[in-house]
């Protein structure tokens, strides 16, 4: 009995240790997820939407880095996003960074479209051409309830079409 209980006690301790390890990992991952070794680039966006630190940075669909930090520039009210990028990937200085959503309800990631300039973005540099997140639900709201009084002459297609239908 005693021997078996030692085994059980050991496994129990291992379970607790695994739980504690994951808890500690997840608490630390709440801060920043950037690993050292990449190079640091920033970009300013008017709207980051649901982008969060740890989100992927992709070129042509291939992940080349992660978002490490998102802060607000208190003077211009732009969101400053810092990326940690794979040092093997050199981006031309006129590349464009866009925030794209992963799905209808999901998070967001950054897509970089490489430009054609001869010089590369250095570590600590900034991507100047950016396109912020699109507020999908805001767009849906505009479509469903268009600002009617302003657009007087632009008669919407909806009332006209039922007349033709029969």
């Amino acid at each position: 009995m005693a021997k078996q209980q030692w085994a059980e006690a050991g496994v129990g301790a291992a379970v607790l240790a695994a739980a504690a390890a994951f808890l500690i990992y997840s608490l630390s991952a709440g801060g920043s997820g950037g690993r050292a070794g990449g190079y640091d680039v920033s970009a300013k966006f008017g709207q980051v939407g649901s982008l969060a630190p740890g989100a992927g940075v992709r070129v042509a669909g291939v992940q080349i880095g992660t978002v490490t930090k998102i802060t607000l520039d208190p003077k211009t009210f732009f969101a400053v996003v810092r990326f940690d990028l794979d040092p093997k990937v050199k981006l031309p200085s006129d590349s464009t960074a866009k925030i794209t959503s992963d799905g209808l309800l999901g998070g967001a990631h950054v897509v970089i479209e490489p430009g054609s300039a001869a010089d590369d973005i250095k570590s600590g540099g900034e991507i100047e051409n950016t396109q912020g997140a699109v507020d999908l639900f805001g767009l849906i709201g505009q479509v469903l309830r268009p600002p009617a009084p302003a657009a007087g002459d632009a008669a919407p297609a909806a009332p006209a079409s039922p007349a033709k239908a029969p």
Partner: protein, 266 residues
């Protein structure tokens, strides 16, 4: 009155009546037993040594079983929700649904079911064997109340440990989902964890822990009740363990529904 010349046509009604009365008696005696158990937990002769021993056997030694159940459930849940979410392009909310499902429902219920299998049966067998070998009668002769010495420590230990086990199961269950999501489904590990943290509210976890405390009480109660009422030697002990596990499992599900509807309609 005189019940002797009953027509044969009434026999089915008599059977139904007997069954209903039997059910009422059963329910009543469980409730009385629970009340005596709670009283024994609250009133002085406390046996702390017994309590600590039960904490160890009920709580600590159940960790491996609960942990394994939780990790596999979390992993399977992640795959299933990924498939379901994929049908309307919402794979990305998988971390949130997994976290909610584990903390509110699966963590407490699965931990309680594993405890019902492991602990209810063990308690019923132990106390049933003591009943069969007349140790409990001997205890009463020595003016030691079995409710204070045997029942109360087990009830209290299960009540305390099942929420703790559930907390472990919650963490490990989410870890199981995280593992599958990052290794098999190409989720970003940091984003997964962050989504989970951002989404979970403290009530999700707390309501699960309240459920777990109730389930813990049920598990120990069923073990003690069926053990102490075991009759008929070795076969009676076997029957008591089966009844303990089955009734504990059914009561856990029933209580789960009642508590969930109570918590969600606040």
């Amino acid at each position: 009155m005189d019940a002797a010349p009953l027509p044969a046509a009434l026999t089915p009604f008599r059977a139904v009546g007997r069954a209903v009365l039997g059910l009422l008696i059963q329910v009543g005696s469980v409730v009385l037993f629970a009340a005596r158990g709670v009283l024994a937990m609250l009133k002085p002769p406390w046996f702390f040594g017994q309590f600590v021993r039960q904490l160890q056997t009920i709580g600590y030694f159940s960790l491996p079983v609960v942990g394994l159940t939780a990790v596999f459930t979390g992993a399977a849940l992640a795959l299933n929700i990924y498939t379901g979410g994929g049908r309307f392009n919402a794979e990305q909310i998988m971390p949130q649904i997994v976290a909610l499902g584990i903390t509110r429902e699966l963590g407490p219920v699965l931990a309680a079911l594993m405890l019902a299998g492991r602990v209810s049966a063990a308690i019923a067998a132990e106390i049933g064997a003591m009943r069969a070998t007349e140790q409990i009668d001997a205890m009463q002769t020595l003016s030691t109340d079995p409710f204070h010495y045997l029942i109360a420590p087990r009830l209290a230990a299960a009540l305390v440990t099942l929420p703790l086990l559930t907390m472990t199961a919650d963490i490990i269950g989410v870890a199981g989902g995280w593992f599958v999501a990052t290794k098999a489904l190409a989720f970003n590990p940091t984003v997964y964890v962050r989504n989970t943290w951002d989404f979970l509210q403290s009530w999700d976890v707390v309501s699960g822990l309240i459920k777990a405390a109730v389930f813990g009480f049920i598990v120990a109660l069923m073990g003690c009740y069926h053990g102490l009422n075991a009759t008929g030697g070795a076969r009676g002990v076997g029957r008591a363990t089966t009844h303990a596990v089955v009734s504990a499992a059914i009561l856990i599900f029933a209580a789960d529904y009642l508590l969930t509807s109570l918590f969600t309609h606040r």
